[in-house]
Symmetry: C2
């Protein structure tokens, strides 16, 4: 399998994409990585390591899509960026998928424009993993579609079910509609219509609320991208905030150094479910290809895990299964 990796994306390029790629070829057999980025920059980073030269190739793409660039940057102003290059190579069949910790909007735009949509899909979506007492679950949409409609929501749920079943190993993923109350008939007219559309899904459990996310009462929480994005970023901020709050209490406490380090250790372990690094990223669901996006601050481990996600999507023929479930 050949996976292209954005070596000019995220907050820590080329270092983290290079380290992630090196870790990936060490861990996964029959994998070749194409590192897409400014050639000298990437080669310079690679030269610090020894590795099987046959399994990592550098593909030159001199232009850089900044994290603050507009979504159309990779397509219009910077046609020689790593995103445009990597997605185009994927379109041409030169690799099985592309992973990037770079500009999400630009990657989504390039993926939709160059790869196109899957047959029957009205709008591709970004899902996000969200921590819970039972491990990660999905919130869809996480920011690609700030306004959603009933038919879109139904497709998001069906695509999410394929992903949850195939990649996350959840046998019959429960779908819940994030709403302001549990009873049917709660929410806006639009939410009531979305509820009606989701009823077609056998494992639709109805409305769920904010308090149900971390339980988790559903495996797939359907909402609009405005809410999904706010909730996603709130969740990402939580471990850091809790560490500060606990740190403040420890400073005022009279515990011994041993007790304090025990608290820190327990806290770190307890917050592990909130560690997005373990999953790396998610593919855009509904695009005609495998395009995985991760957090800008992705570590080498996160990028390695994103590569794994792309490999899993290809091996499980996610897109064929999505088409089958939709049509």
């Amino acid at each position: 399998m050949i996976i292209a990796v954005d070596a000019a994306g995220g907050d820590h390029y080329p270092k983290n994409p290079v380290l992630g790629a090196l870790a990936a070829i060490k861990e996964f057999e029959r994998l070749t990585i194409l590192l897409v980025g400014p050639k000298k920059l990437v080669q310079n980073e690679l030269s610090k390591h020894s590795f099987d030269q046959d399994r990592i190739q550098v593909v030159d793409s001199p232009e850089i899509v900044e994290m603050t660039d507009s979504a159309s940057a990779a397509l219009k102003q910077k046609p020689n960026s790593s995103i445009a290059k990597g997605i185009s190579m994927h379109k041409q069949g030169q690799c099985h998928g592309f992973v990037s910790a770079g500009n999400t909007g630009a990657l989504l735009a390039a993926s939709m424009f160059i790869l196109g949509k899957l047959e029957g899909i009205s709008r591709p979506t970004i899902a996000t993993y969200y921590p819970s007492l039972e491990g990660f679950r999905l919130i869809i949409d996480a920011g690609a579609n700030l306004e959603i409609k009933p038919d879109m929501a139904l497709q998001f749920a069906l695509m999410g079910q394929v992903y949850a079943k195939e990649i996350m190993g959840i046998e019959q993923p429960r779908v819940g509609l994030l709403n302001v109350g549990e009873e049917e008939g709660k929410g806006t007219e639009l939410l009531k219509e979305i509820y009606g559309a989701l009823k077609q899904i056998p494992s639709f459990i109805g409305n769920v609320e904010g308090r149900d996310i971390l339980i988790p009462k559903a495996d797939i929480f359907i909402t609009d991208g405005y809410i999904g994005n706010v909730v996603l970023k709130l969740g990402e901020s939580l471990p850091g905030i809790l560490k500060i709050l606990v740190g403040q209490q420890l400073q005022q406490s009279t515990g011994t150094p041993e007790m304090m380090s025990f608290v820190q250790q327990i806290l770190t372990e307890s917050l592990a479910p909130f560690d997005y690094e373990r999953v790396g990223g998610l593919p855009f669901l509904g695009v005609n290809g495998t395009s995985v996006v991760g957090h800008g601050g992705s570590s080498p481990t996160a990028i390695k895990n994103m590569i794994k996600v792309a490999m899993d999507c290809v091996e499980h023929s996610i897109n064929d299964k999505i088409i089958a479930s939709i049509n």
Copy 2:
């Protein structure tokens, strides 16, 4: 000052409203409480305690608005409920305010219908306190208006500023628009229009994101009631979830009993900012009166604090100041 308390609202009536009222007259001078609820039920609870009989009166209201009743229940089906009775007495000048841990929708509907809106206000709103590293801040709207418009958002922000300044003691409350990115021009067309409306406020700091809430980057986070409600309930669920996660780690750990109880103590102290009991509840902003709503699970302390909120609103002439800031 006379405050009416819903003695038939919340998950633990009449006990908690009665205990909250008793605590309030003990703590606050020159306060008389009207306990509104089924007379025998309330008197039976009161008879378990000794107190200054002149400062607590029972007002009979035989009908009960259940937490699951529709918003119109208190007005149409149950005209002799504590909510209808208490709000009507407030309208007639028999008390300075009404506080309830009961059905929020019913209380809002009764408040809007019986008390009416403040001059110049297009839609009253529910704000919620949200924890942060610097104490509680406000999210508006928290569920009263699932869809908002630019003029509503502007009024919410102005009302929130009056409340934050007068009651929370924040000198120049910063207003932020909860959005999916920081840059101006982010979000839906509606969000861009709301951004434009909020620009009239000198201390508007622009768009803020989910990750900015707990910092807090703003003092008042403006959003629609769908998001506000989801984020509110997610936040409320958090301490319980964290206690479970930490408990699981402690069970697997090899710490001594002393170390484990130290962890529990530090955790409890660290999560204190998430304890909504300390603030009790908030008034509906924009109604022509003082109608304070709290969590269904409110403890006696929470209800005592809600009574304090109502007293503060009256003493600070919140409604006069809101009218002045809007018009």
